[in-house]
C-alpha cells in the first residue's frame, strides 16, 4: 500500500500550493479563490482518510466541509463586491 503515500503526497502538495497563493496573492480575490479551492481539495483529502483509516464518519465530515466552504465562498464574494450581508 505504498502508493497511498503517493496519493496523499499529491493532495498535500495541492494544499500547500493553495496556501502559497493565500499567502502571496497580489489581490484579495486571489486569496478568496485559493480559499475556495482549498476547501474543495480538503473534501477529497478527508474522503481518502475515510478509505485508508476505515472510519465511516469521515464522509460526514466531507459533506459538512463542502457545505461550510460554499457558504464561506459566497460570503467572501459578496464582501468583495462591496455589498452588505443583508442586501
Amino acid at each position: 500500500m505504498t502508493f497511498i503515500y503517493f496519493i496523499a503526497g499529491l493532495l498535500a502538495a495541492s494544499c500547500f500550493m493553495c496556501l502559497y497563493r493565500i499567502g502571496h496573492g497580489p489581490t484579495a480575490p486571489d486569496r478568496s479563490v485559493a480559499i475556495d479551492i482549498f476547501g474543495t481539495v480538503v473534501v477529497g483529502f478527508v474522503c481518502l482518510s475515510a478509505v485508508v483509516l476505515r472510519r465511516d464518519f469521515y464522509i460526514n465530515l466531507a459533506i459538512a466541509w463542502s457545505l461550510v466552504s460554499f457558504i464561506g465562498t459566497l460570503a467572501l464574494s459578496k464582501h468583495l463586491e462591496g455589498r452588505r450581508f443583508d442586501e
Partner: protein, 120 residues
C-alpha cells in the same frame, strides 16, 4: 486485493492527479480569472473522482450513498461559488491580464455600477 478495490484506487489516483494539476494552475497562471477557471474545473472533477473511488473501494451502501450525495453537493456548489467569486472580483475592480482578448461583462458591469451609484 479484490477487483473493486483496484478500480476504486485507480479512480482515486486519477482524482488526485487532477487536483494536483488544478492547483498547479492556481500557482502558475497570470491573473485572477485564469486561475479561477483552471483551478475550479480541474479540482471539481478531481474531487468527484476521489468521491467515486471512495464509494467503489468501500462497497458499503451507507458510505456509497453519502459519497454520492457529497459528489452532488460539490458538483452544484463549486461552479456556483466560482461564478460569484468572478463577479465579485470584476466588480471590485481587478483588471484583466493585459493579453486577454475579450471582455463581455464590461457593459453590464458599468450598468450595475451606475445603478448602485443611484441607489446611494
Amino acid at each position: 486485493m479484490s477487483s473493486n478495490m483496484i478500480v476504486g484506487y485507480i479512480f482515486i489516483t486519477i482524482g488526485a492527479i487532477f487536483d494536483f494539476f488544478g492547483c498547479m494552475g492556481l500557482v502558475r497562471l497570470p491573473d485572477v480569472y485564469n486561475r479561477l477557471q483552471a483551478a475550479t474545473k480541474c479540482v471539481t472533477l478531481g474531487t468527484i473522482f476521489i468521491l467515486a473511488g471512495t464509494a467503489i473501494v468501500t462497497a458499503d451502501p451507507a458510505i456509497s450513498i453519502k459519497a454520492g450525495l457529497c459528489a452532488v453537493f460539490v458538483l452544484i456548489t463549486s461552479p456556483t461559488g466560482a461564478h460569484a467569486l468572478a463577479r465579485g472580483a470584476y466588480l471590485s475592480g481587478v483588471k484583466l491580464w493585459e493579453r486577454s482578448v475579450v471582455d463581455k461583462f464590461k457593459e453590464r458591469a458599468e450598468e450595475i455600477k451606475s445603478q448602485r451609484g443611484e441607489a446611494k
